[in-house]
Symmetry: C3
Subunit: 353 residues, 3 copies
């Protein structure tokens, strides 16, 4: 892919940070869609995103200092407002109006800091995808972050086919290779901006990560995963473990355990990705060790994925001409890539129009 | 050199591994001629070489699992036969016939795993160069491996002129700078696929590596090296230390000590090389410390070479236009490069025909 | 900037090394203006600079051995005179006259080793810029070296505007942010080959680095900095701390403390720089701890600069099209870059003529 090809959707909201990354006046240097940015929370509480490059001599603004809601470059002391406009030059009275850096719309919602990298005029907060469990006190979980040296679409692919649980995560999130052989997607729903896949695995041992947080570790379970993927790379997973044969597939959830999982893939570059996630549970929520155990299990599992996903990126870089061959299980990911490319083409067309 | 120029001979056998690298179901990820491969020994004992990239989503097959003589990709569970053909897709009955990965002819012979990277129809095991000491119980040695960040031809060059023993290896393999001044190649024989060089050094101190494994450490020796280099980069060295003045040059080998050394250079990329070697001795073979001592001495010596050879590569990369200037001692290496280029041109001509 | 654009002045003297780097027969491998060189002191005391690449097989000559004033390549033993000419090939009587490597004029003066990378016919030692404090026993200091992963012009920029002392060096060399707000350059003098800037800061606390080496740590001082920058990147700084209100600005230096600082920027590549410096004092020179303390303070301060300067380089590399925007304080650096580009253009014109 030539470096001039459009590769990122710009007119959409991406997760830029967890709020806990922005405490105590920290300036977070973070590249998003190949643009180096600095993120900080001003003293009023407002989160600001600016280009991480002073317009004067290209010094990194992330080495700067927060003053009020402004950011002072600590090289020669120029100060920038949240709008990006330069508002002070030490030792100089008049500030040329063109002095300033890029500023990006930010919205905080449900413990997520969202950023809009495209046309600011289009940055409608109502377009932010809603995920109630993150604000619902009935659900408890810990926010996680992982950096991938791989294009975000490989992570989307990974989440599109849960057969990989059987092989990549046998001893962590999967539990058994039967998961790939005995279950199939019950349904793949093609959405306008992604897909929804539902998969059942009946009468199986509870997988290791679940066994660690439940009392009854031996009884068989009926497991359901419902995964929803949305453009540009947002994934919600609903997981249910019901006692085997209790009729969960007919709606009886008595004695079931439920999880809600959100994953947000934000391209850092075409070859690297910021990965934000939270794995929430709604049982025994007064026991903090459950969230901690689930957090650890997910880190273990995601690192298992990482070896494959970063391996894919490396092998593609070595041979950019390589064409992948689809199998039946790729229906969801193929639809997602088609959907994504449609959106990208529309955005490009609008930009040229 | 543009990346599209032919640089490697493909229709010939290369050493791919030592057998001890393939024990216990290990999958060795090894790039040969810029092609990432996975090598493994199937349960029948057969060694298999496949592309280290699943045809489905480009996951590394070296993260896979050996089952029988097959290899299962541990991303989504697809299984590949030694032929490269896909023979199982979990959760899918029908396997499209085009699903498969590249497979490469392998022959095991005399403790060496050989691979053929070119046209499989031409992969005649009779073309494998024979080296009897590796299978002869009269000779004992330890298999070695070294990785060079340099084109293999720089290693060929190194072995073409033993004057470097005098300077690079004075305190290890060489023994004295006299070796460069007082000896000359007695004979250079131009072979159709390489060269043979014979060099004598009379009445000299035994070099450090030899002194370490003999009882009589002080008496002068007459030293003979006969080196044979074959395309694409295979080197055999015959070394004799006879008591000084005993007439070894006339065939009297009474009291002499002999070594046999094989070195196999397999291009990893145009800038890096796999280097396999064994330094064998045929005296006191019931004493395992001799082979260990020689192994250590060679590691020490090869690492001395490495500084020069990797330095050459770095300096060429900085200035690809640099032309080396030949001296008299370069007759052997010049002939080798000429021979190699002839072979390469013939192979290219046959490929286009 | 395309790699074929001229970027370095070649017909001028650059600092190549401190003499203490060349003791005990050491061969210093050092790249200057993107040319890999080896520097050594011959047994006669003469310093020699040669291409760090043997003309035979491109082995690094910095792995060689000094013999007399010559350098022997320790790969195959070829010996090179200070002129670069090959004067010995072990085992070969006749030496082809074209065998040799590049040699560069060297002059040692005042504890600095200067090199001329351009036309040797123009290498007039009288062109070396004089800096008497380095040879004057009244001044004492320690020679320092720092490596920057940045183009040298970013360091020139840094030294052109001392407002950065207020922000980058508040707790080391600067002392207070007032320095940027309350002082201005008293005068900027445009020189034919650079600039001279004088800056006063009256009635201020002594900055931390100065406070460490004086007895009276509390009394206010009047501080004067006079910085002179010369093409290609040579900086001299005269610093005076006088008792506040004592009339230093009218020439009364009673009770003042003085420093002399030289900094020499030698391009390693277009993206990296050798930085040589000495910070000298002329009081309490029998106390060696003062020079040591000043040395440590400068290291601390220069490393504060390094974060900004290397950050600038990284940000420019990510977006080579970025144009910096000038402010009033950039008058000196703008003049320097104009002066430098004039010199560069003249040198190019002369080379083509």
């Amino acid at each position: 892919m030539a470096s001039t090809d459009p590769i990122f959707l710009k007119n959409c909201w991406y997760v830029a940070a967890w709020p806990h990354e922005l405490i105590d006046g920290k300036r977070v240097a973070r590249t998003i869609l190949e643009k180096p940015l600095v993120l900080y929370r001003g003293e009023s509480g407002r989160v600001v995103a600016l280009d991480d490059r002073c317009c004067h001599r290209a010094a990194p603004l992330s080495l700067g200092r927060v003053e009020g809601d402004n950011l002072r470059c600590m090289y020669h002391g120029m100060m920038f407002a949240p709008s990006g406009k330069c508002i002070q030059i030490p030792g100089q009275e008049v500030i040329p109006p063109k002095l300033g850096v890029g500023s990006y719309p930010i919205v905080e919602k449900d413990q997520l800091v969202w950023i809009w990298m495209g046309d600011p005029a289009l940055a409608d907060p109502a377009l932010i995808i809603d995920y109630p469990p993150l604000r619902d006190p009935a659900w408890r979980g810990l926010p996680g972050y992982l950096h991938y040296d791989a294009n975000w679409l490989y992570i989307v692919d990974n989440l599109s086919d849960f057969a990989h649980l059987a092989f990549v995560h046998t001893h962590t999130l999967g539990g058994s290779e039967e998961y790939a052989f005995k279950t199939k997607p019950v349904a793949i729903e093609r959405l306008a901006d992604g897909f929804c896949v539902e998969r059942w695995n009946m009468d199986s041992d509870p997988p290791p990560y679940h066994r660690k947080v439940i009392a009854n570790k031996k009884d068989k379970v009926d497991r359901r995963n419902i995964g929803r993927m949305h453009v540009p790379g947002i994934f919600f997973l609903e997981t249910t473990f019901a006692p085997a044969g209790s009729g969960a597939e007919r709606g009886n959830l008595a004695g079931a355990r439920e999880y809600r999982n959100c994953q947000f893939m934000t391209p850092e570059t075409r070859r690297s990705t910021h990965f934000f996630w939270n794995y929430l549970h709604n049982f025994d929520t007064d026991n903090p060790n459950i969230a901690l155990s689930l957090y650890e299990s997910m880190c273990e599992g995601f690192n298992e994925d990482k070896a494959f996903i970063e391996g894919q990126q490396k092998l593609h870089d070595l041979d950019p001409e390589f064409k992948m061959l689809a199998i039946g299980a790729d229906a969801a990911l193929s639809h997602f890539r088609w959907t994504f490319n449609q959106r990208l083409a529309r955005e490009q067309a609008a930009a040229t129009a």
